[in-house]
Symmetry: D2
Subunit: 374 residues, 4 copies
Amino acid sequence: MVGGGQGAFIGAVHRIAARMDDRYRLVAGAFSAEAGRARASGRELGVAEERTYTDFAEMAAAESKRKDGIDVVSVVTPNRFHHRVAKAFLEAGVRAICEKPMTTTLEEALDLVELVGRTRLAFCVCYNYTGYPLVRQAREMVAAGEIGQVRVVQVEYAQDWLTTRLEETGQKQAAWRTNPAEAGAGGCIGDIGTHAFNLAEFVTGLITQQVCAELTTFVPGRRVDDNVQVLLRFRGGARGMLWASQVAPGNENALRLRIFGERGSLGWEQEEPNRLLFSRYGRPTETITRGGPGLGKAATSATRIPSGHPEGYLEAFANIYRDFADLLTAWPDGPSGSTPSLLPGVTDGARAVQFMIAAIQSSRAGATWLDLTP
Amino acid sequence: MVGGGQGAFIGAVHRIAARMDDRYRLVAGAFSAEAGRARASGRELGVAEERTYTDFAEMAAAESKRKDGIDVVSVVTPNRFHHRVAKAFLEAGVRAICEKPMTTTLEEALDLVELVGRTRLAFCVCYNYTGYPLVRQAREMVAAGEIGQVRVVQVEYAQDWLTTRLEETGQKQAAWRTNPAEAGAGGCIGDIGTHAFNLAEFVTGLITQQVCAELTTFVPGRRVDDNVQVLLRFRGGARGMLWASQVAPGNENALRLRIFGERGSLGWEQEEPNRLLFSRYGRPTETITRGGPGLGKAATSATRIPSGHPEGYLEAFANIYRDFADLLTAWPDGPSGSTPSLLPGVTDGARAVQFMIAAIQSSRAGATWLDLTP
Amino acid sequence: MVGGGQGAFIGAVHRIAARMDDRYRLVAGAFSAEAGRARASGRELGVAEERTYTDFAEMAAAESKRKDGIDVVSVVTPNRFHHRVAKAFLEAGVRAICEKPMTTTLEEALDLVELVGRTRLAFCVCYNYTGYPLVRQAREMVAAGEIGQVRVVQVEYAQDWLTTRLEETGQKQAAWRTNPAEAGAGGCIGDIGTHAFNLAEFVTGLITQQVCAELTTFVPGRRVDDNVQVLLRFRGGARGMLWASQVAPGNENALRLRIFGERGSLGWEQEEPNRLLFSRYGRPTETITRGGPGLGKAATSATRIPSGHPEGYLEAFANIYRDFADLLTAWPDGPSGSTPSLLPGVTDGARAVQFMIAAIQSSRAGATWLDLTP
Amino acid sequence: MVGGGQGAFIGAVHRIAARMDDRYRLVAGAFSAEAGRARASGRELGVAEERTYTDFAEMAAAESKRKDGIDVVSVVTPNRFHHRVAKAFLEAGVRAICEKPMTTTLEEALDLVELVGRTRLAFCVCYNYTGYPLVRQAREMVAAGEIGQVRVVQVEYAQDWLTTRLEETGQKQAAWRTNPAEAGAGGCIGDIGTHAFNLAEFVTGLITQQVCAELTTFVPGRRVDDNVQVLLRFRGGARGMLWASQVAPGNENALRLRIFGERGSLGWEQEEPNRLLFSRYGRPTETITRGGPGLGKAATSATRIPSGHPEGYLEAFANIYRDFADLLTAWPDGPSGSTPSLLPGVTDGARAVQFMIAAIQSSRAGATWLDLTP
């Protein structure tokens, strides 16, 4: 693991997710660039001192030389490091699970696409919401034509934790996520807008062609956007809207997707992830439940316990880790980049960066339409 | 009443609404331009034969001359007649309740603004959703600063009844509403988009300054838009999104408004109109109920029965009629145009037409930004 | 109308309900036994002075002699008068719509059963919740075997308005409803418990055979029960629970019915009356909506406006009045007691009284089982 | 671990729960009495062959002698073995986490109470729903008087998986749970009724004094009850109802608790465990969220991730394991029975057995009132 030292949020989530199915062991880490904090974190996490690094490059080099070196690295640093860390490990032959957004520039993103294509090493970007069983069910249903050709996509991701200027209070998460030097040019657009974008494309299978984006900063003094409104045009004629906000009081983590097709619709919300609304035009709406009747293969294999016992965020996250472990098991000795899988790969990561960059540019140009070339 | 003959939908709603509080009697009507249908409708509704007209102009003339002539006319025809009917009665000195959109062109709209301004006769446009008690409560709360300055407005109005080409099946409502000759250039934008627009401005008190609209026709062969997606810029810096659709399976009449301010938010849905969600940043969300604790004056005076006994669409509609009757009671003998009231007046009607026209033009120009000059 | 003078609640509801479909005119009334209040009420309601009575017996006599005498009387007095008022009018040949509970003793109830049976005059007890379209839909579905043989019935009716000793504050509704001299021996059991009981039998078609009831008075000083918990045994083996409470904070008028059969279940809540949950075992739950797809005849004919425009309490109440008007139209000149109809009749009224009395007796005996002999 | 071999459900849940916080290692097990299955399970779970037992008594003996012997045993066998397994380990000085119901007879339950009292070893019964953060929040709020003295408790636990005679189809879970020889005399009452009972007492802090229970078997041929309806009398005057059913179509795992006090109420549902409804009489209802504003110490310390990222069943279960680990950490070398903790202990386990036995006896006597002597 690189990043995820004491005080970090997402690192702990990754560790629980990895532990859930007993498929991983945490044996090495560069938890912090600060030596004291790195050591303390390693000790707390039971990592041997000799494998507790303060420099990720050193770790990549050292681990790739060990006989018992790591099989996979989790990249959980602030955004601006994602590219260089992932690159270092891939070049050292180590497969990687990388946090989103994959990079902060398009050039870096394309660089990783090229690198993964060349090394054919398994690589996954943590669009973790794709791990929810009913998200996968929705994708499977759209692909099977259950709602007919998709016409309209409404996706939103609303939070309220940045309603005030939290970054000035010393809150670590708020501080780096609103600092362009750490998070990149995008604030809300990168932090959660790309999740919404990825979810929409993942479930519908549609390709976004053009965007018209209005990014706003509502909290005085903030240096990045905290509200995002985007019109989307998809290849084939479907239309969409995307709203992401971190200044929407009353919303905790309200990622919500609705898809409308010629014959029906699907609706899913992250805060009640065990329900999927399915409407067939001219019939009463049905509530499909995780583990309940009528589920397809994708959802069934992504769930651990019977219906009615709610699964949540950690279980969905753990599905990413479990699927990645399955990839490694299938290809224990080497490249596996082309193995089919539901995991968001380097291309999905790059598309999301492309979306983020296009949205920022569109907004700067006064919210005009921009192409999202493939 | 002009329009609302046999087979019509909204005419019957107006009649129930007018009857609810026993403040009106239906004594004259031009229910249809077709003589047979007009007479049959009149008979069914208990209107004297001599006051059952086939021509609205004749009715305006005749009724304004009678000593017991009508006090108010309800204009419930297809859109393209609104302007000329309203005009005929206003010029004859008769006050009017007019269906929305008030007119199909901006010129007609401004003409009515001028006419009402000049005659100072009471005039109301049926943005009936403003009659819901909790919509008025929300407006009052925003005005009182309960959520602070408004930053983000998300409004949507989704239906599914035009998912297929219903207009080809002989369904009367679908036929005229998708016929530009009857409904005007706007389909979904005029029919329900203006409701969403009006609701957003009514509750927030904000003035929309610019729009960027994408109007789409998804059903092959349809001659008007059936899906509407708009970015909104409000005076003062607030930002909004508006989605209206008549091809969204699983939605019946899903008008939904969410408003986010510096200190809190409000959320309301027309299909569950007896609940208003109120979040104060940093506190648990509260569910305010119609008739329940914590209501202000506007909501309290707009409700008829105790909390927990749901009120619905007809009661909200009846509030429009009741308020209009109150206006007449206050100004029995003449002009009352400037009386303060919560009723949507001719200016609100004109603003919605302005929005509709701007959205159509924006969309035709490829979804570019257009001003909505006041 | 007898009762329903100024300050009353349910009288106004009856008047709106009667007006909704333009099938009734209010022409006479004994709105209060107090002369001043009676006159003032009559004047306010537009009833001629000569037909404004202070004595219901006088009214029955006078009206039955007039050529233009009333066709129907609405009995909306406090409970203890129901029997004598209904009797007076029935004996004078006037049909009646009577508030619930029909009487306060079993003897009185049986007396009315005999009287209606003998006169064969149309008579309806205001179990108004049976007027909701989706309640009728549920009844039709159970009867059609959609959920198979019923096994379990869970019904509840919770309110919170008597959580404190409101009757001491001068609140008129609280005062008479908690006064045994006005309301009868039952408090909560009579006021809302009988609604829940009636709803359960109406929808399931089951006959309650035995009850075991625990009636409690939680508010110190109160003279009637304010919380009711009952186990139910139905003929044929089904089992049920009934909970009614007026001291349940957070509940406004939460009447809720759930029915479970061999093959499926149905669920309905009065506060969201436009939705009916339908589960077929082994299939996702469906949400049936008022006016939406899949409705049967009973629901369709009990609704006035399209789906998605919520109907509420007043519309359901108006269905009772409309159905009663239909009865009179079918049998304009006389007896109609045996006409088939969905209206709760004198037998249903008597069964509810029987239930109420049995529950009171069971509770007094320490919550033991008692028969509810037919 | 004793029990939980291949094909079992709850064993896997315990293992994930134990793993979640990295506080346990699975090092020994008697996963099945059948040698082949025991060995295969052990191998799959990575347990050394020498510590894979086929006999729990042998395991207790062997492990207690090892220097590196187990610190805790998880008892996850069918109900009838709970007592003898727990006893064997406790007598060998090994602390235990035991599935519910703790035993199948009252004698066995009291025996364990005595044994735990004597040995003062940490012992926990898996009433896992007490591990949900908002359940603990509710308990804390009741104890703090937030809703005043409790008056009414409505608790229910509804499932539908036994709507048909599943036990005849070879489904392993259905087979043992409906077999009195394996599960004890109680079916639904023991399997889920005791969960509901425990939850009600845990949150309210009330002591159940008397029960009147109706246990029914609806599915023909079934040998145990599948539907349970109980009236409850609590010490101090509160009243309650408990419904548990395994034949309620449309319910997956619908454990739901509502508590009404003099000043307010609380409501929680297991299928949406991240929300707690809190009503203060005369104020709008508030929705308290896991991780959101207004939480007390108990809830805060029982949650792993920020609000809006739903936690579920496994996280709640893991809280039981984590708290037990905390107990062991506090008392590493021995007895800890009297350490204060939120964990359901041997007394809670015995109370639930007492309730189960009393309910069965009450029902057999025709649903009469029975004491639940402490």
